[in-house]
Amino acid sequence: MSNTKISIESLYKIFGKNPQSVLPLVQDGMSKQDLLEQHGHVLGLKDINIDIPDRSITVIMGLSGSGKSTLIRHINRLIEPTAGRMIVDGDDVLAMTKKELIQFRRYKSSMVFQKFGLHVHRTVAGNVAYGLTMQGMPLKKAKAQSHKWLERVGLAGFEGHFPSQLSGGMQQRVGLARALATDAEILLMDEAFSALDPLIRTDMQDVLLDLQTELHKTIVFITHDLDEALRIGDKIAVLRDGAVIQQGDPQDIIMQPADDYIFDFVKDINRGRVLKVKTIMDVGVSVDGPDIPADMVLEEALQIAASSGTRAGNVVNRENQIVGSINLDQIVAGLARPADVSTKEGMYR
């Protein structure tokens, strides 16, 4: 697959008066609860190891309090770590000097915030131009350039408005345009769409996916919403109580949840719209029947298979080579919600 862009290595974050003093305890495996009760420190992140691939969307998912917002703020070091390394293109962000860090933030990474984080005293154009002015571009030129990005997010003509005059969805488009305008390779999105209505959220996801097919940024996306994670993520890492409990291909997480916690998460999703044909096909076997693209979701494959005479089809990859086959029974079985995790213990790690 693609190369690793960001490599998070044994990252720890402990909140409290003297985090270093309790770090060894945490490294020896002391639980969050014990740490709080016995030492008055809060465990934020515990031994995080994630490789974030280049030019794709990595989703970090977790409920509130799982540490996901803390984690993303370590990538551009808005929060100082207690221990660990954050390697971006071979450099450790956590070891940078103040000057290096400012350069890193100006040119290498940009960020979109949950509550938008717009500057209410600047116009829309002024907000989008902000990152460019930080890079040293004169405001006038930066504003002219920001026009292009406003057009891309569908806000052309709103340059002179103030953020307070826009709806939430529009404000977040401004936030997205501001982040894209600096041309940074890394885009950090902290629950970027969580504050929006469901319809507008889907809308924004489309905008993002659309832009991504063209821009190929390395996107780290934080969310608490599994559907959103599955929809946009090329890779998903699930966080709980400050630790990663499973990471990998979204399809694997649905098919093989690492524990009850993740199983509870995935059991209620609409599998037909998320699972792909390639995940449940018979590899290598070919049959009589129509071609079905490997990346098609089951819901759509179901219709093709049902309408074919043999009730089955060949699975083809992007180059139209047959890579396997699938039949109607397999698809229906794939759509069914799995039974309780305990009955299938053998399947899981």
């Binding site: 808005l78 915030f113 500057h119 930080m134």
Partner: protein, 304 residues
Amino acid sequence: MDFWTGKIPAWALQFPDMGRTELRDFKKAIDAGFRTFSRAFGEDIENFFHPLLQFLVWFEKLLLATPWPIIILVVAGLAWLGARSVGIVVGAILSFLAIGYFGMWKDTMSTLAIISVATIVCISLGIPLGIWMAKSDRVQAIVTPILDVMQTIPAFVYLIPVVMLLGIGKVPGLISVCIYAMPPIVRLTSLGIRLVDKEALEAADAFGASYRQRLFGVQIPLALPNIFAGVNQTIMMALAMVVIASMIGVAGLGVPVLRAISNQYLALGMMNGLAIVALAIIFDRVSQSYGKRLQRHRQGINHE
């Protein structure tokens, strides 16, 4: 008081105070100490404040020498720049005409001079202090009680050391006004900066803003409405000190008020008092509506 006698030990009935002689010596020692300090450094301190005195004198002379129609034009122009309201401009012009008509022009100019200089001093010291206070919790912990003292200690009490050090005159008057008028600008600057939206600041950090870019590009602009409320309060409090300052030799509207108090001149007191009120209202309305205009981006008006 024999109410408790015999029922309670004697030491609880009489507070164990210092004793009259010791207390007198103690106070004397403080007084002597301060007098020595004042003799040793009074001149240096006076020299330190000399440029300020020169500026104040120059500004007062300028106001007094300028023909009255020009002053009224400038006042009207400033009122328009600040408030953009015909009503306020007309009110300001009428107030100044009335002040002149009733023979209070010179005193009003003197008062205007000291208020303006005091406000400039308060702003140029108070805003940086407020910024520092917002940045550091320790500074805040130290400065807050000092501001409390400055605001609540009776003005007459700090007039004593100020006069001992600098004698009577414009500079000690100015210092007294500033002691009283500075706290609001410091407090509101600090408050305004601390209230700036956390995500707006995080956004500045995330895009690589340096400390200065963060301060001048985000924190101060977003805190400006609060800072401006502080400026407004500072001006109001400076005006409130005019009469007290006149007790230690500051010329202005306070002098006739003092004369009116000691001689029971009702009309004189009222007229000069109302002139102070008129100045206060003009300053207040102009600075408030300017502050409101600073917030126009919050109100969802279309600005195309």
